[in-house]
Every structure is written in C-alpha cells, then in structure tokens.
Amino acid sequence: MTPVDEWLQDLKQRGIDNFASVGLPRVLEEDWKYTNIQYLNDGEWELAGLPSNIKSPDWLVSGEVIRLCFVNGIYYPNYSELLELPDNNYIGPLDKALELEEVNVKDHLGSLVAKHSASITELNTANIKDGFVIKLSKLREPINVEILNINEGSDGQVFFHPRNLIILDSVSQVNLVERFIGDSNNTYFNNSTNEVLVQNGSNLRLYRVLGDGNNATTITNTVVSVGVESVFENLSLSHGGRLVRDEIVVNLDGIGSSAKLGGVYLASKDQHVDNTVLVDHKYPNSKSEQLFKGALAGSATGVFQGNIRVGENADGANGALTNRTVLLSEKARMNSKPRLEIYADDVQCSHGCTTGDLDKEALFYLRSRGIPLAEARSILVEGFLSEVLEHFDQSYITGLFKGVFDEWVLGV
C-alpha cells in the first residue's frame, strides 16, 4: 500500500466512525427541521455499479471545453474529453489525481468539510471512490469545464457518493457546469460533496443542474472557502428527484472576498426541495448576495434556510438575501427560514422573504388580452423565476432553463 492509499484508508475510516456515531440527521436538529430523510434508514443500500446500457451524453457547453462524464457516480472515460494543461495544473478524475504528487490531493481533501462536520458528508467521506479534481494556478485564461453525471440507478436500492475537489489559486478562472440527470424510475441515493477553495484573486463560476430521476434522493453539500479578492458564484437549478437537499456553505475567508448565490427550484407532485445556505463573513469588506426563487405545484414542499453570519472582524461586510416562492396549487407548501447573525457593527445586512400566489392583476391583464389561463400563468411564473438568471450571464444556462421550465410546466 502506498502512503496515499494509507492516508485515504484512514480518512475513510474516520468517516465511517463519525457517521456510525451520529447516523442520519433527524428533524429534531435545527438544520433539518423541515426535511426528513429518515426513510433512507429503511432497507439496505449498496454501492451502484455501471448499468448495462448507457445513453449517449448531450453536452451543454460547446467550444473549447473539458468534459468529464460519470455514470452512477463512476468515472466513465469513454465519454470524457480531457485537455492538456500547463504543468502543475490538473483537471480530471479523482483516482488519477491521487497518484500525482504535484496535485497534492492529500493536503486538501477532507480539510474543508471537517470544519462543517455534518453526518451526511461523513457518509460521503466513508465511501470516497470517484469524483473529479480541478487544481489550477496562475492560469489567467478562463477555462470551461462540464461535468455530466448520468444517474440511472439499478434494480434494488443503490447509492453513490461523488467527492469532488476544486482548488483555484492565483488569478485562475473557471466556468464549471455540473449536471445530474436521471430518466429512470429507479430508487437511488446520490450523495455528492464538493470541496472548493478559491483564493488570491481567483474566480469560480459554478452552474449546477439537479435533475435526478423521479424516485431519487439527491443530497449535495458544497463547502467553499473564498480567499482574498476572490469571487465565488453559484447558480443552482433544481427540478428533479423525489427529495433534493442542496446545501452550500461559503466561508468568506479573505479581505474583499465575495459570493453570489442564486437558485431556482421547481417542484410538483409530492417532491420535496430544500435549499440550505450559510454565508459566513469572516474578513473585512466581504460581500455576499443570495437570491433564491421557486415555484411549487401539486403537493410539493419547499424549504429555504438561508443564513448570513458576520463575524467580529468582518467590518464593512455587506450581505443581502432574498427568497421568493409562488405556490401554484392548494396543497403546495413552503417553509422559509432566513437568518441574520451579526457580531460586528459596521455592517449592512438585509433579508427579504415572500410567499404567495401569482399577482391577480397581472394575470387579469394577460387574460384580458386573450391569453388562456394556463399560458398566462406559465408566462408569469417564467418571468418571476427569470430574475435569478439575469444575475448570471451565461447564455447556455438561459437556454437550459427554458428547456427544463417548459417541460416542467407541461407536467403541472
């Protein structure tokens, strides 16, 4: 066994021990008050293997782009397209990164999540197998990366635990699209964890699409540390899965660091969608923005928990948080918990939160111009949600959103 193997073995063992001592989170825990995942305790779960036939991928980003494909959480080189990068830079699968000394996965993997220890990330650590690693330094040119996760599941209950590591150092820039797609009705549990380090004037734009299959449970944890004068942007579009919990923890760990987080969530039938965000301002003049909007139909349940924390040293912090939800049916429900936790005095922080139906007057306006009710509602909902996208300027995201939204509206 090599030293790296030994280290990984230890790390996984710690994950196993830590998870065994606490188990899955319960609704009695404040952070899980509105989302119950205890049903995952029913029955046995097995690590997923590759399905017999794998559909060919439809890539979203064109032009010069690095593509990595995972099927049921397993790296699938046949569909991946890697590019040559200058020395000391790496974009590729986790297992290869572990072998490369210059990538030095050892120093970073597990270090960020350790500060925000949650049982669900411990479960991920216990099962580390595949994932991707991005490590860039001093590459001024923006790099485009697309990660496609084709999640099919299989007969019986299977789970997989993608573990990804992103390190951007010294003025590196990455546009990263991460997609989960699943068309099957199989029962599977996708528990993905991202550890992200953006520092010294670097910039990461992360676009995530959570579209797992009808009976899937998707839990993602993204733990980010943003350093001096660096920027982290995240846009999540969540529309699939039986239960989705998208949790993002952003530590603003440097002077002048900033984070922009956006989210659009669509849910219908008995879907449950949970967006949980913590932005922790630890240094002066840090800035954060959060805008989450969603539409709930059927008997869907939405959850939004947003927290802005400003530490004692973070003078000059500026934080804003907005959550707006439209309830399109009688049985849809929304629980929202926007928090401010302020320990410094020279700050400007605010949050706003609304829940309600579509604007009656706007609806009347459209109908009086001969637009049928269903179409009028669809126009209004789309307009309402598009505000989030306007904050992020990537053309392929708008196109993708349009496609996802149109399909969703048909089913409502």
Partner: protein, 486 residues
Amino acid sequence: MPAVDETLDQVKSVEKYKYGFVTDIEAETAPKGLSEEIIHFISRKKNEPKWLLEWRLKAFERWLDMKEPDWAMIGYPSIDYQDAYYYSAPKTSEDGPESLEDVDPELLATYEKLGIPLHEQEVLAGVKNVAVDAVFDSVSVATTFKETLAEHGVIFCPISEAVQSHPELVQKYIGSVVPVSDNYFAALNSAVFTDGSFVFIPKGVRCPMELSTYFRINAANTGQFERTLIIAEDDSYVSYLEGCTAPMRDENQLHAAVVELVALENAEIKYSTVQNWYPGDENGVGGIYNFVTKRGACRGNKSKISWTQVETGSAITWKYPSCILQGDESRGEFYSVAITNNFQQADTGTKMIHIGKNTSSRIISKGISAGKSKSTYRGLVSMMPKAEKSRNYTQCDSLLIGSECSAHTIPYIESRNSSATTEHEATTSKIADEQLFYCRQRGMSEEEAVALIVNGFCREVLQELPMEFAVEAQKLVGISLEGSVG
C-alpha cells in the same frame, strides 16, 4: 425644533436605574425550595378550591419531566430551582387589605416613589386615568377603581380574588390558551403562580379606562410567578398595560410569568408592556431572568389582539408574545422595541398562527444592541391550510451600537395555503456616521445624538403605546443606552 428639544430634555432628565431601591418591609415567606409541600402551602395561603390545587400539582408533575429549553441564543449559569423562595408577601394584620387605608404606608410610599399613584383622588385630579393593580412580590396589594369599573360590569381584580369570586370564569379559561405543559417555564408557573391580574370585559362593553398592573419584585432570592388572564367577550374593548421594576441586587432573580388573552367575536385587546426589570450592572452582575409565556387567542370572528412591548430591562429576556388567529378575519399585531446594553441578552419575538380565513397580522420589531449585549429576534408566521387569503407583513430592524454587541434575526415562515401571502423584511446596520455627524455639527453631544436617532428608529413602535406611557418609554430608551457611546 420642538421635537428635538423634547428629546434633549428627556435625555437630560436621564438617571441611572432609579427603581433600584429596596423597601424595608416585613415579609412572610414560604420555606426555600420547590416541592409538592410548597405548592400545598401556596394553595392553602390563597384558600384555593381543590381543582386548582390538583391543576397545580399536575403541572408540577409535568415540569419535573421537562427539560429547560436550550435553543435560545442566550447563555446563563444553570438555575438552581431549589435555591429560591416561591412565596413572599408583605405581612398584614388581616387576610388582606379591605381598602387603601389598610395598606401598609410603606408600600404606598414605594409605589409613590415608582410614580404609580394608588390614591384614587390623586388620579381623579387628572394625573392619569388608569386603574392599577399593584403586585408586590407574590401578592396583589391594591387595586384601584374597582367600583367604577364594576358599574360597567368590568371585573378587574387579583387572580387569587377572582378564584374566590368568579371560580367558573377562571376555571373555564385558565390554561386554555397556554396549557400547563406548554413549555418548561409555563409549567413551572402553573405549579407555583401566586398572583396576577384577572380582567373580564362583558359583552358590548368598551372598558372606560386603561387598566394597568404594576409588578414589583422586592424580596431577595425570590422568584416572581404571576399569571394574568384577560377575557374580552363579544364586541368589547380593553387596553391593558403592565410595568415592572425590581431592586438592584447582585444575585439573579427569576421571573416566569404566563399571560393568557381570549378575544371573542369582534372584541379587541390591546396589551402593552414596559418591561424595566433590573438589568444588572455594567459588569453583568445581577439582574432579572425574565422567562415569560404570553399568548392570545382570537377565538371570535373579527377579533383583534395587539401586543406592544418595550423591553429595556432584565439580564435575560426570553419572551414570545403570540397570537392564535382562529376566528375568520381576526387580526394580530406585534410591535416591539428591545434594547440591550452592557451584558444583557434578549431573545424575543412573536408567533402568528393563522388558522381562520382572511386573517391578517403585522409584526414590527426593532432591536437595539449596545455594549456587550446580544439581542435576537425569533419569530414564527404560520399559514395553516384553511387560512385562505390571509396576510402577514413582518419587518425586523436591528441597530448595532459598538463593536462588541451582536444582533440576530431568526424568522420561521411556514405557508400551507397558496392564497395566503407572507412578506418579511429585515435589516441590520449601525447608526450611519453621516447621521451622527449631522447631529454633532448642530451642537449635540454624542450621547444625545444617539438617543435622538434611536428614538426616531423606534418611533413606529412607541407611537403604538397608550399616550401616558409613550413619553415614559421614550425616556427609558435614553436611560437604557447610557454609557454605550464614547
């Protein structure tokens, strides 16, 4: 600029905690500690019927099984519930004073000093048109204007008296809004409550004057556990105010009250609090631990309950006045100013539970933290499935003065009805340098400028107070922030 002058005058008249004196009066106390015997002792003292004793014992039994809540953002050394007196009453010759003449002059002097006149003729002379129930440690010592109120059919008396004179009303409503096992402190209160006010407004009556209870903790090592019950029958109206003070002592004293309001069809209850318990000194020594459960039920259609609170005192405040909006078109309001300075900690807010159709609620909360204090707004707005077309508007603003204090906002918004609308806004900031500079430029001291700005910040809430108390509250704002700048 008269408004500025007014504020300046008020700031100048600011004194340190002026209610911190101790009245030297002989008191009768129960033995220290909490046990079934003590509950029997209290019940015997009050000559209570059997059902009430059993009710207390049931609450005590439940309390023993409960755990002290730890979710609030407050920290304090664990309370030794056996190291306190649960009953303390000024000694009187007879069972109780029949009229004001029988009241110990020492007590009257105490209330005089607190600015609460108990002599009716003085009140009639136009000082204040308010009926007062004065509660001293565990008992009510005097209630004014009882006769005038009785002419209108209004019952306003200590709850221990109401248990004797109107047992059917007390039995019907007590514990119906806050059940005995609602929470740890409510259960404790149910077991050992000693006095408090009882108000009953009959059908169609608009209470002719403001009602007020003045709570005073005097004895050392004593907890105060009062219970207030207000019932407004159909088409009635009442405005009720409570005030509280305590001597300056180095030990912490426990205050765990329960307030229950019931508003029937088309009735309105306006409940205002100016809470000025001793907050502890500038090093955080002493002060009252204030754990209070307040809840109102809008049972009838078109009923309305409005809570207004000015929280300036107490070392710890744990208090969430709530409204259960059961009746259709009922309305709940919550206006709050919470000021913390030095080492004070406040975790306060409200709950609005919308059950009926077309119900509406409004929450305006202003938190001001200075020194090393911590202030938290914690609130719940819940739209139940049948709360069609209900509305809520919430606004929480926090102001930070100084770099060592903290302010938190933790709202919970749960909507289960698509036609209901909830709106929530919150901000946290400090006093802008430009505002301060503007005032300083015009010759105001820094402290005066801060008091002026803070008063403007809370005006929206202060103006909801009955007029007589609004001025008092404005002064309190200045006093509470003393020493927080410079």
